[in-house]
């Protein structure tokens, strides 16, 4: 049935195409594979946070019956890393270890227990170095040696300093200027599925199945480290058991099983233990932040200065991008006429941090939402009205050259404020509501490695009525396969279950850059539309020729192409054109600004969210109970509202976990809570009712107007929780997570007449370089901007 917009599939709440497979136990995840003769791999990891390796003796391990191969860093010396600028990792390290858990050696054996015993039998001699465990320590002169031999001074990895417009003049114009300091503790993805990979080596070709979010980046890393051409390597995404950003880097175990398969000629599998998953990490950076904003007495922002210091852990990972992201998107929600951003990432002897849902933006979002809430209260303004007065407008450019097209912020706010009864909320001690907004990318506008090729490609094959769509996109549970099927079905007049999908296989599918930066619906979706429309044109032309009419008169839908069934039309078209294949691709527009560092932040479209949290907070115990969350998300156009709701609800859940309990912290280099029992995450009993509002703004460039849904809705939840705690108890918790201890301590300070706040006392002195000054672009999108780079 076609709806009033002419759609028969798009916009319908349909079950996922892989739903039945996932509820019957038939989906094959990487660890479910156990081909005959499979060897099991275990990895020996560093027990020290920082040490030089003096020697590695594997002879005893090799003598254990059942051990088939033992490798060390000397077998895999080539360095890799997700970003071209930070190729600082080895699959196995033979010179120096930089965090507890850093891989040193790997064993392939007939049984997992034998492999583990062999790891125990490897004798490593270390020269232990002083570990660097905090941002302050990393900024100071190291007692022994630096963690990495690049970056600096001291253990600084990256410094950035950018200024857009005249910030000092903006502050001079302000009637009120306020500074605040915030801290966001690190946390981790905690996917239910432990990372797993299995490799084979047959006929001189490596095949790797992995629980990765990005088959293409694993493919590139394997080629580099194994020193094989990419055409000798095939990477297949196995059914995926949860990523949230944590399976976006290429990992040591993926490279190691490939190497061991090459050496032994047998399948080799490695599944990380849960404890290893905590150390593999690549999760949310701990970030210390300082922000200063100037406002007029009417509540208009005149300038903002934002500083961040990221505790990056031991390696680069996505860290340079994460650093830029802590400064990039402030301007995408609020119209900031002059903006200065100084960012710093340091190395510490902890597992590397990287991207987690919202990559680099939940921390500054927490900071600026609370900061602006405080400014509103300073001015005696209503926080909602104050924020709303400063919202960006659709079809504008921000001061840092980001292009805002569709923007549904006003509708989002109206929904959550009206429906939650925020304005008329019950005012009594212990009960509070908090409000916050946010924005996120619909795909990064630039690739991880700079190139001018498409970011997503889709091929379609039709024969005898069967339709197969091929795309490198990896469904990690968010439903990207279902989105692809829906789009192809819509264009060809079919239903999603008529479409066969082949995805995430570097041999058989064209490139897609994978499930990160909320890019798949937007980019693969646009590629799929192009491919499907080309296929449709062939089917329509063949049908028209056989009907004696012109193609415009051929109706497509309900399984028919004009007078013919889809199968009949496909036979006519194949007879007319030969093999029926079509292809489409998507390349984001070149919209990055003319300055170094402009590659992080641009996106073809931004999603917007608004949230209200209602909670009870106990003044005596500090315990917080979330009563309800109202969340509105501008998704552009919901291709499948059921999947959008699922992403929004999952984001709210993950945001609440981060806001209230999740933290990845260390004692002497050891994770304090490396198990699912100790690392607190919300259970069925903690999760409140969520009321979701889908706002549709029909983005001009999104597929059918769609934007992202998977990450943006997490962002406003965290500041809304802290704002609600203030509303309930009159204390500011300027540090995430908002734990009972922090609330109790803030209440104690309040009772003593000290500032009613718990948070970092100061922001450290950081040797930021002089700002690169960037002239802002014309604000109106209809006015041409100078050539971008």
């Amino acid at each position: 049935m076609t709806d009033s917009n002419g759609f028969s599939v798009i916009g319908k709440a349909l079950p996922k195409v892989d739903g039945a497979m996932r509820v019957t136990g038939q989906a094959i995840y990487a660890d479910d594979m156990l081909p005959g003769r499979t060897l099991h791999c275990r990895i020996l990891r560093s027990p020290h946070p920082h040490a030089r390796i003096k020697s590695i003796d594997t002879s005893a391990a090799r003598r254990i019956p059942g051990v088939q191969a033992v490798i060390t860093g000397e077998d895999l010396p080539v360095k890799f890393g997700i970003l071209p600028v930070t190729q600082d990792e080895r699959a196995l390290e033979h010179e120096k270890v930089r965090y507890v858990g850093d891989p040193i050696a790997a064993v392939a054996a007939t049984e997992e227990e034998i492999a583990a015993a062999a790891c125990d039998a490897i004798d490593v001699e270390f020269d232990v170095l002083e570990p660097v465990m905090s941002i302050d320590a990393a900024l100071a002169n190291p007692r022994d040696e630096r963690i990495q031999d690049y970056g600096g001074p001291n253990n600084i990895h990256k410094l950035v300093a950018l200024e857009f417009g005249d910030v000092d003049a903006g502050f001079a114009k302000a009637d009120h200027v306020r500074d605040d300091v915030f801290f966001f503790q690190g946390n981790t993805h905690l996917p239910m599925e432990q990372h797993s990979a299995i490799a084979t080596y047959v006929d001189g070709k490596v095949t790797l199945w992995s629980s990765t979010q990005v088959v293409h980046y694993v493919h590139r890393a394997l080629a580099k480290v194994l020193e094989l051409p990419m055409n000798r390597i095939r990477v297949i995404g196995a059914a995926h058991g949860g990523g949230f950003g944590g399976k976006t880097d290429p990992f040591a175990h993926e490279i190691v099983v490939a190497k061991l398969a090459m050496l032994t000629g047998r399948p080799v599998k490695c599944t990380l233990t849960r404890e290893e998953v905590f150390y593999a990490h690549r999760g949310r950076h701990p970030v210390l932040m300082w922000v200063r904003t100037g406002v007029t007495k009417d509540g208009l922002i005149t300038a903002m200065h934002f500083r961040s210091a990221l505790d990056g852990g031991a390696y680069g990972s996505y860290g340079v991008a994460s650093t830029f992201y802590t400064g990039a998107l402030q301007t995408v929600t609020y119209d900031i006429p002059a903006y200065r951003f100084e960012g710093c990432r340091v190395f510490t002897n902890k597992p590397p941090c990287g991207p987690k849902r919202g990559h680099g933006t939940p921390q500054p979002r927490f900071a600026i939402e609370l900061h602006l809430e405080k400014i509103a209260r300073d001015l005696g303004l209503d926080p909602v009205d104050f924020k709303r007065r400063n919202f960006v407008k659709p079809m504008t450019r921000t001061v840092n050259w980001l292009r805002v097209t569709s923007c549904g912020l006003d509708d989002c706010v109206k929904n959550v404020i009206d429906q939650s009864g925020y304005r008329n909320r019950e005012r009594r001690p212990g009960r509070g509501m908090g409000f916050a907004i946010s924005s996120y990318l619909s795909g990064a506008g630039t690739a991880i490695y700079w190139n001018d090729m498409p970011h997503s490609e889709v091929q379609i094959k039709v024969d005898r009525g069967g339709v197969t769509a091929y795309c490198g996109a990896m469904d990690i549970g968010q439903g990207s396969d279902s989105v692809l099927a829906a789009i192809v079905a819509e264009e060809l007049g079919l239903q999603p279950d008529d479409i066969r999908l082949v995805t995430a296989d570097t041999d058989t599918t064209p490139i897609d850059l994978g499930s990160y930066s909320s890019r798949v619906t937007f980019m693969a979706g646009n590629a799929a539309i192009e491919a499907a429309r080309k296929m449709r044109a062939m089917l329509v032309e063949a049908a028209a020729a056989n009907m004696g009419g012109d193609p415009e008169s051929v109706a497509v839908g309900a399984g028919r192409i004009g007078d013919f069934s889809f199968e009949e039309a496909s036979i006519l078209a194949e007879t007319r054109f030969g093999t029926l294949t079509s292809a489409g691709s998507y390349t984001p527009p070149k919209i990055a600004g003319p300055y170094k560092g402009s590659g992080v932040g641009p996106s073809p479209a931004y999603s917007y969210s608004a949230c209200v949290v209602d909670l009870d907070a106990d003044a005596r115990t500090g315990l917080v109970k979330i009563n309800k969350v109202w969340i509105a998300h501008d998704v552009g156009h919901a291709i499948n509202p059921l999947l959008v709701e699922g992403q929004v609800e999952g984001s709210v859940y993950m945001g609440l976990g981060e806001a209230l309990m999740e933290e990845q912290t260390f004692r002497k280099g050891l994770h304090k809570w490396p198990s699912m029992l100790e690392y607190k995450s919300p259970t069925f009993l903690d999760m409140p009712e969520v009321e979701t509002f889908i706002v549709e703004t029909n983005d001009p460039e999104g597929p059918y107007g769609a934007k992202e849904a998977g990450q943006g809705p997490l962002l406003p939840v965290i500041p809304a929780v802290s704002a609600a705690v203030f509303d309930a108890l009159g204390v500011w918790i300027d540090e995430i997570p908002v734990t009972p201890e922090k609330i109790v301590e803030a209440m104690r300070r309040k009772a003593k007449g000290e500032p009613a706040r718990y948070g970092p006392p100061r922001f450290p002195d950081i040797p930021y370089p002089p700002c690169i000054k960037v002239e802002p672009p014309p604000k109106d999108l209809n006015v041409a901007a100078p050539a971008a780079i």
């Binding site: 079950p15 996922k16 892989d18 739903g19 039945a20 497979m21 996932r22 509820v23 019957t24 136990g25 038939q26 989906a27 094959i28 995840y29 660890d31 479910d32 156990l34 993805h189 905690l190 996917p191 239910m192 599925e193 432990q194 059914a239 995926h240 058991g241 949860g242 990523g243 949230f244 233990t273 849960r274 990690i476 549970g477 968010q478 439903g479 059921l642 999947l643 709701e645 699922g646 609800e649 999952g650 984001s651 709210v652 859940y653 993950m654 198990s675 699912m676 029992l677 995450s681 259970t683 069925f684 009993l685 999760m687 969520v690």
Partner: protein, 152 residues
């Protein structure tokens, strides 16, 4: 030699004594629908039913369940006919990545077998030992309620 009855099928196996039921199901019976998230009894992912009651298969040795009826996710459907819980989970998007789903389905089945129309709080309590990182639990609760309604 040990004899186990899984999904109504009898398996006779010679096993190392330390192997857990989880490992035996996955590696020796190729019933890989049962997943693992921690292997320490903390996440609920490996839940199976033993005589209809949920048990964490990572903490059970095969000898403890000899002669008892074990049900895994592979045993929920009748032939190609999905169990109402499976159907409701698929329809409502209660399985995103699907990795926690087998354990949650079985814990839900045990609940509904003993309490045909549980309240939402009863469902929360029954599933409190099962973690899910994708869904925020919302659609799972709705799916269990929908299945209960259809089975009722």
């Amino acid at each position: 030699m040990i004899a186990l009855e899984v999904n109504g099928e009898r398996f006779e196996l010679l096993l190392p004594v330390h192997k857990t039921l989880l490992e035996v199901l996955r590696e020796d019976m190729q019933l890989t629908g049962t997943k693992h998230g921690c292997e320490l009894g903390e996440c609920g992912t490996c839940t199976v039913l033993v005589d209809g009651r949920p048990e964490l298969s990572c903490l059970v040795l095969p000898i403890q369940v000899e002669g008892r009826k074990i049900t895994t996710v592979e045993g929920m459907a009748s032939g190609s006919q999905l169990h109402p819980l499976q159907r409701a989970f698929a329809e409502l998007g209660a399985a995103q990545c699907g990795y926690c789903t087998p354990g949650i389905l079985l814990a839900s089945k045990s609940l509904l077998d003993g309490n045909a129309r549980p309240t939402r709080d009863e469902i929360r309590a029954a599933l409190a030992g099962n973690l899910c990182r994708c869904t925020g639990y919302v659609k799972i609760l709705q799916a269990v309620e929908l299945a209960a309604e259809r089975m009722g």
